[in-house]
């Protein structure tokens, strides 16, 4: 009996393309155990009830005014909550209209299809509700007007659809009407105990069992066991004869994999695409070297205290930048710029050293203007300012344009050698690696600890010779390896 009902419902479900929750084999196995059907979709919602549970998709109904989408503003229910028909589910907003969506079904919420602030589409599923099987699967879309069932009755010739009881329309859901129809019970004879005097399933069953006093009863014998809906006993009997085997549906559990996402390249990344594509036309050459910074490290130890008193945290970067500027004075061709057709070369007077910065928006290269006339302290404070602005995302075009030479401190993140890309219209760029303590041999063949940093220069080979770059690098290296030698050329 149960199996026949199951198969009848089965056909109905497949016909209306419902989401199925369990295979029949599992159902049959569990029926005798008085257990419920485990649900594949949501493992949390296993609960005890004897009937075939189905998950119904409740679609967002048409709100009118040609609105096709709304924004979810607040959820009133969570997954796992038990709700009854007409409970508020959520609040949505569309163009100054705030709408409260109410549920069409009783049941347990099994899935919220959107998060707060998502855009929900009209006609698409809003929530999934696990209901009991007696819910009529005909009417899926929630409608605001419960009396709209009267308008749909024009297509239905059943006289049960619209009945009048003492001048009032009887309120009953289609599921309840079906039960009353099956059992040949007149709704007008049944007393409703639900909200607004609504007739519930229990009322019909009670009526059938002859428990309703005061209303004229038509005692109809209970219908044959086949069409008997959920009886008072909670156990569904296994049929005596083996039912026809029903092929269970193919369950394809969702594989938990990542998904490809595509997004448009915009903003700073787009600017980077443009710059780097332009940079491709420059034939670069690389020159790599390592600098012994041991002396500088010692210098820093001495200066650190003094610098803190002045409110500056002493770091190496300002020294590197100043040393670059001093070396550029000897090799001004590295501080130049070529035009597009590579016909003219302009030797720039001011050393505007750019620093590559990794901000939350992307790669930005703000520059410090006129390093040749700044002291190391001033360079440090400028660096702080640019860094702070970069963090806040507030670097102005003034800071970002006009650079003549660039440095990239990739070592602060990690790494030793790199091959930096020249930013047109500049002609050279340097990448500084990590400062590491490494073993080296000194003049007396002793193994000593030295602080080594690698530097990788790239330059435009159309105008810069390898020898020039090498000499520049050597000069820069000598300044750093002997900080005191900087005093001679410090301006």
């Amino acid at each position: 009996m149960a199996a026949r009902r199951i198969s009848k419902n089965w056909i109905k479900l497949t016909k209306y393309n419902q989401v199925k929750t369990a295979s029949i084999s599992i159902l049959k196995r569990n029926i005798s155990n008085k257990l419920t059907v485990p649900l594949f979709r949501n493992a949390r919602s296993i609960h005890i009830s004897p009937c075939l549970n189905e998950i119904v998709q409740f679609n967002l109904s048409d709100i009118g005014e040609g609105i096709r989408e709304v924004q979810i503003k607040e959820w009133y229910v969570n997954v796992g909550d038990t709700i009854s028909q007409f409970d508020s589910l959520c609040e949505v907003q569309s163009d100054k209209a705030s709408v409260t969506i109410t549920s069409r079904f009783d049941g347990v919420v099994s899935k919220l299809c959107y998060d707060v602030d998502d855009i929900a589409l009209v006609g698409k599923p809003l929530v999934e509700i696990e209901t009991d099987s007696s819910t009529d699967t005909d009417k899926l879309e929630g409608k605001y007007d419960e009396s709209s069932s009267s308008s749909s009755s024009s297509s239905d010739s059943e006289s049960y659809m619209e009945q009048r009881l003492r001048g009032h329309k009887t309120l009953a859901t289609p599921a309840v009407r079906k039960i009353s129809k099956e059992n040949k019970v007149r709704l007008s004879d049944v007393k409703g105990t639900g909200r607004d005097g609504r007739i519930l399933k229990e009322d019909i069953l009670n009526f059938i069992a002859g428990k309703q006093p005061g209303v004229t009863q038509e005692i109809t014998p209970p219908a044959p066991a086949v069409s008997q809906p959920i009886a008072s006993s909670p156990v569904v009997q296994q049929p005596a004869t083996t039912p026809t085997p029903v092929i269970p549906p193919k369950i394809t559990p969702q594989p938990v994999l990542g998904e490809d996402t595509t997004e448009r390249i915009k903003g700073i990344r787009k600017a980077m695409v443009k710059t780097m594509t332009a940079a491709q036309t420059i034939p670069p050459f690389g020159y790599y070297d390592e600098i012994d910074l041991t002396e500088l490290v010692r210098f820093r130890e001495m200066i650190k205290q003094q610098a803190l008193q002045r409110g500056v945290k002493f770091s190496y970067m300002p020294v590197f930048i100043k040393a670059v500027s001093m070396a550029l004075r000897e090799y001004p061709i590295l501080n130049s710029s070529v035009d597009e057709k590579v016909e003219n070369i302009t030797y720039k007077a001011s050393h505007n050293i750019g620093l590559a910065m990794d901000t939350k928006d992307g790669l930005l290269v703000p520059n410090i203007k006129n390093v040749q006339s700044l002291s190391i302290y001033e360079i440090a404070s400028e660096l702080n300012r640019l860094h702070a602005l970069g963090l806040a995302g507030k670097l102005g075009t003034d800071d970002l344009t006009g650079g003549t030479f660039s440095l990239s401190n990739i070592g602060s993140i990690g790494g030793t050698y790199a091959r930096p890309v020249i930013l047109p219209p500049e002609v050279a760029i340097g990448a500084l690696g990590k400062i590491q303590a490494l073993p080296r041999f000194d003049d007396e063949d002793n193994l000593v600890k030295r602080y080594i940093m690698q530097v990788s220069w790239s330059a435009d080979h159309r105008v810069i010779e390898g020898a020039t770059m090498a000499r520049f690098s050597n000069l820069w290296k000598s300044y750093l390896e002997n900080p005191t030698s900087m005093i001679l050329d410090l301006k």
Binding site: K73, F86, K96, A97, S98, V99, D117, N384, A388, A392
Partner: protein
Amino acid sequence: MKIINLVKSSRRLLGRSSVINLCRHIASQGNTQHHKVLVSKSLNIYENLALEDWLYENTDFNKETILLLWHNSPCVVFGRHQNPWIECNVPYCEKFGVDLVRRKSGGGTVYHDEGNLNCSFMMKQSLYNRRRNLQLVVDALTYKWNTPLSINDRDDILLLDKYKISGTASKLGRNKTYHHFTLLYNVDTLRLKSILHSNLDGTISNATRSIPAPVMNLVDLVPDIDFSSLVNVISERFVEDTESSVVEYVDPADKSAFPGINKHLAELKAWNWIFAKTPPFSISRTFQNEFSRTITFLEVSLDVTKGKIHNLDLKVTPPTMIDSKVFIALSVGMEETQFTLNEISKKLSSVKMEWITSRLYTVETHAILDWTLLCIIETVALHHGRTPSQNTDNNSEKTYLNNNESQATW
């Protein structure tokens, strides 16, 4: 079915315009709803909105359609999903007794005073039509005073096709709806502009944003418009073509006429509804100052969820200027503080006491720590009075904060 067939056959016989007239006739004949006009005697916005709510819950819209007309003493009404601190000047309103209200319908923020008429059309879902309601009012006004009014596609009523004199919002539920809108006839527009401007800067929020528009009063074109003449003109138009003609003056404070209205009133007045219902948002600001000849930047950021502060985060550049324990004490102390000036000041005072007892607040550090506290106050923008522009590289802010330092009452 019959009507559709009738229309189809008549179209063939009569031609298009006649069919439209026929439809209009049929539509108006089908209007068997009882039309009722209610005018509220109260000037209190909470009572009036509670009345609107009560009517929404307790009326059988299958039987009647209601037009509720009301006006209030000065208040700011913002939409269900909006952020009051972003939409208007909250401290000013609190100081000068301008009521702050969150309504249940969506849409943007409006300023009301007695020179603003509110119309609320309440009916069942099948009759819901915003444009028709607006057109009714426009027709009524134009017929009587020949005002040059039009309706734009955002459902605003415009005067001279440019000045907004009405903002619309609506609420839809299960078979009941209301559509309400304002009508500026004699409002203090200067006050409107200054109140609907917020000093809160650096916010990131998903709350509905209002769209500002230039406004004008009906009284600028028709000097003798007032509340009672508007009520008469609009209610006449509303009840015409129907059998009923009831215009009732009601008092929302009358509990016998509206039993249970106190529940709605209490809900609308609750701090939790007005402020804590704000969708979560965050504020982030950077301040600059100079201490011991060092240029210092302080970045303050915090989240506000359900009306309480969370995740207060402070970063100072250069990092050695302020001990990190100072910031930890602040972040911990300010967590879950209610987003009101009183609560924030109290909590900041107690954090300062902590600093003093743990010797973080000393002669050397007092200047910068006091400045930090001022920056936090500045970030939440809940203090009264005007504030200068908020750019970090604006020197005037530096002097403002420096001046305030000396007057600080910490």
